[in-house]
Each structure stands twice: as structure tokens, then as C-alpha cells.
Amino acid sequence: MPTDDIRDTSDAILVVAIGRYRQEALAEAYRRHAGAVFALARRLLVDRAMAEEVTQEVFLRLWHRPDRFDPERGSLRSFLLAQTHGRSVDILRSEVSRRRREERDARETAEAGYDIEHEVVDLAVADEVRAAMDILPPGERAAIELAYFGGHTYREVASLLDEPEGTVKSRIRSGLRRLRTVLVDAGIGGAP
């Protein structure tokens, strides 16, 4: 496809072009999604250089294995963000950073109790998404925020919130389902 057409093409076709080693198609995918990828990695890892590395890795992985993306399963953005989240969480859970984070969490919990709000304080989500989060029961909202933006396992979330593990597990699932319903009703988050 000529370069001029790249900007008008769908994400799914972009990935086909990436499969044919069209570097400009990867560049366009990067232009569309790298901001969100980097922001999520930065949100989780805080460290800018590490977030940049994850961003680089996610797009190189798309270049080398475009077949991993199945447009029938979801959007390219959710695919890239899932990769970003998984990789960032792997880094977070590596031994060194785990220890550091546990110390930090312990300190914060001891000093002021765990402040759920600090997990979303600089979260620039669209108004609709923010409103949808607001309609969630506080328990579901906290569980999702700590898991997704804090990179915690549901067991860690249970410990942080002093709730049973089973309860947290269920709240994450029911909260995500509730959010989806609300967002689809609001006209976003429907078809990928």
C-alpha cells in the first residue's frame, strides 16, 4: 500500500502490512498507540527509562510476531496495552523491585493506611471512563485500580485491603463486567 494510504487504513490492515515487513506500517501503529503504551508502562513502572524500554519491546514484538494479534479477539490497542501491562508487571515483580515495593507499601500502610486514591490521582482517563469508574461500588473500584494500575496480584490486593482473596477475585471480575456494560451503553468500548 502506498505510504499516503497508511494513515487511513484500519489497525487490522496495518498489522497485515507489518507482516509484509512494511516499516511505515509499524511507524503508523506506533504513532497511533505508542503514547498510550508508554503512559501505561510509566504509570506502572514510574521510571521513565524502563517505560521507554517496555514501549520499544512491545513494538518490536509486534514487528517480529504480528501473527500474535488476532483482530477477531479485540482491538490492536487493547492487544498492545495487554502486552505492555504484562511486561511491566513482570518487571515489577522481579525480585529487586518486588522487595523495594513491598517495603514502600509496608511503610505507607504503617504511616497513613493505604491510600487508594493515590493510585488514580494522575489518571487522565476520559470523562466517560472516569464516570463509569465512579459508578462502581468502592470495593470493586479499589480492587481493579490496585490490580491494574498498581500491578498487584489479587492476593496482594486482598492483603492490602484486608479482604478475603475470594472476595477480591470476584470483585475484579464483576467490576470489569459492570464497567463494560456501562461503557458500551455510553457508546464506547463496544466493537473493537
Binding site: S10, A12, I13, V16, R20, Y21, Q23, L26, Y30, A34, G35, A36, F38, A39, L40, R43, R48, E52, T55, Q56, F59, L60, W63, H64, R65, P66, D67, F69, E72, R73, G74, S75, R77, S78, L81, A82, H85, G86, A124, V125, A126, V129, M133, I144, A147, Y148, G151, T153, R155, V157, G166, K169, R173, S174, L176, R177, L179, R180, I188, G189
Partner: protein, 263 residues
């Protein structure tokens, strides 16, 4: 492990799984389950879509990251993967309108295809078996040298043919390369440069990759020289792999050299 998880247990974990919030052992169990359960796969996909909406919309990506990505693309040709071999122009146009991707093609060659490939293969450049018996050994060497010189000459002539297909193959580090030239009648030559000699029990093997199959063009030996082959029909890419002596019908190894035919 999975025996201790009921379907319901796994379903209850799907939200946490979609957010990477399960332990490693639970993740393994769920992944095995997902491979066989489209309903749970769809639920995870839905959760991930929702999570993606929660993520920061993001501004522009930081400067310099794209440059590093582009640099990495230039320095290392991607590993050969048949899944990447997208359909031809017409099919692409159809898929473009349908909005679907080409499906992965398994990296296997069926027995029938192998038989066809064997029939298509004419390999002159393989190392001749050496016999440690004085004159006979010297005669073999002389024949081999003559054949080698003949093949090399033919390859040089083919390179000058304006209708020949020419493909440059390279290793990921760029240290080893090869030139392939294939004449319209299907006769082709491989001219390797910088391929390290393999230890005993290992040989190089040449492959032609078509959109539907990967066809062996022959075993090149442990220290390949200019080699001839025959391959009819369109080829998407050529690859050289490192295999056990005797070669294989279907390679599971990453290629040592790879080069794509310019369309």
C-alpha cells in the same frame, strides 16, 4: 495442577487473569484452559478491552524511542516465520475489504510435499563422501573440484542474466551472507559468504519458502561452497538452517540466513 481447578474456579479468576493479577501457577492453568475454551477466551478479551479503556489515553510517545526501534529493525532481519508470509496482492485486497488477517501457516511440510520437493531438488554442491584410499580419494577430490568449478562458473553466468531472480540472504548479525540467483527455467545457485563451518554431525540446509509450504532445496554440507538447485514456481523467501546430518523434512530451527524475494 489443572485437575484441582473446576471450570467455575477458572471463570472466577478470569478478571484477575486479564489484569495480570494472578500468580504464575494460576496463569499457567488458565492459559491451558483458554486454549480449549472459546467462551472463556472471549471473556478475557472483553476484560482486556475494558482495561484498555481505563488506561491513560497517552500523549505522544517520548522522543527517541521510535529511532531506537527503527534502528533495531535495520540491524536485525526478523526471524523467518511462515506466519508472516501474507497472501499475494489479490488476496490481500480481499482481506483488506474483509478486515481479516492471514492465518498462520504451520511450519511443517507434509510428507506428500516432501516427496514433491525431493523430486524437484537437484543438488550438485553437496560434499562428496570421502574414501580414505589413495588414488580413489584423489580422483574424488579432482571430480569434486571440477564440479565445484563448473557450478561456480554457471553461477557467475546466471548472475549476468537480466531475467534471473536475485535474492540476498543474511544472518541476523550480518556476518554471514549468501547470494541466490535463479534462472527462469528454475535452475538456481547459492553463493554463501562467511558461513562458519559446522561441527561434526551438523549440516546446513537450504529452503524455499512459498506461501503454502517450506520446501527443502537440499542439504549443503558442513562447509558449503557454491551450490546448485532446481526450484520451479514462485518463491517468497529463501532460508538456510543448521540441521542434524542428513537434513530434515521439516525444520523447527530458526534460520541462519534468510532473504526475501522482492515482489
Amino acid at each position: 495442577m489443572s485437575g484441582s481447578y473446576s471450570h467455575q474456579d477458572i471463570q472466577e479468576l478470569l478478571g484477575a487473569f486479564a489484569l495480570d493479577a494472578v500468580d504464575a501457577d494460576e496463569r499457567d492453568v488458565i492459559e491451558v484452559h483458554l486454549a480449549a475454551c472459546p467462551r472463556c477466551r472471549a471473556e478475557v478479551a472483553g476484560h482486556r478491552e475494558t482495561a484498555a479503556l481505563l488506561a491513560h489515553r497517552g500523549d505522544t510517545a517520548p522522543e527517541g524511542v521510535w529511532d531506537r526501534i527503527a534502528e533495531a529493525l535495520d540491524e536485525a532481519p526478523p526471524a523467518l516465520d511462515l506466519a508472516r508470509i501474507a497472501p499475494g496482492g489479490d488476496e490481500l485486497a480481499e482481506r483488506r475489504s474483509a478486515g481479516v488477517l492471514p492465518r498462520s501457516v504451520p511450519l511443517r511440510v507434509a510428507a506428500a510435499t516432501m516427496a514433491v520437493a525431493a523430486a524437484l531438488t537437484l543438488f550438485v554442491g553437496v560434499a562428496l563422501g570421502r574414501r580414505d584410499r589413495g588414488d580413489l580419494n584423489r580422483l574424488d577430490s579432482a571430480v569434486e573440484a571440477m564440479q565445484q568449478a563448473g557450478v561456480a562458473n554457471a553461477a557467475t553466468v546466471a548472475l549476468a542474466d537480466p531475467h534471473a531472480e536475485q535474492v540476498k540472504l543474511a544472518s541476523t548479525d550480518g556476518k554471514a551472507t549468501a547470494q541466490i540467483v535463479r534462472l527462469p527455467d528454475g535452475t538456481g545457485y547459492l553463493m554463501p559468504t562467511g558461513l562458519p563451518a559446522l561441527p561434526g554431525g551438523r549440516v546446513y540446509q537450504l529452503w524455499a519458502v512459498r506461501s503454502d509450504a517450506k520446501i527443502s532445496l537440499g542439504v549443503l554440507g558442513a562447509n558449503p561452497q557454491v551450490s546448485a538447485f532446481r526450484m520451479a514456481g514462485p518463491v517468497v523467501a529463501y532460508a538456510v538452517t543448521d540441521e542434524a546430518a542428513g537434513g530434515v523434512g521439516a525444520s523447527q530451527n530458526q534460520p541462519v540466513l534468510v532473504g526475501y524475494v522482492k515482489s
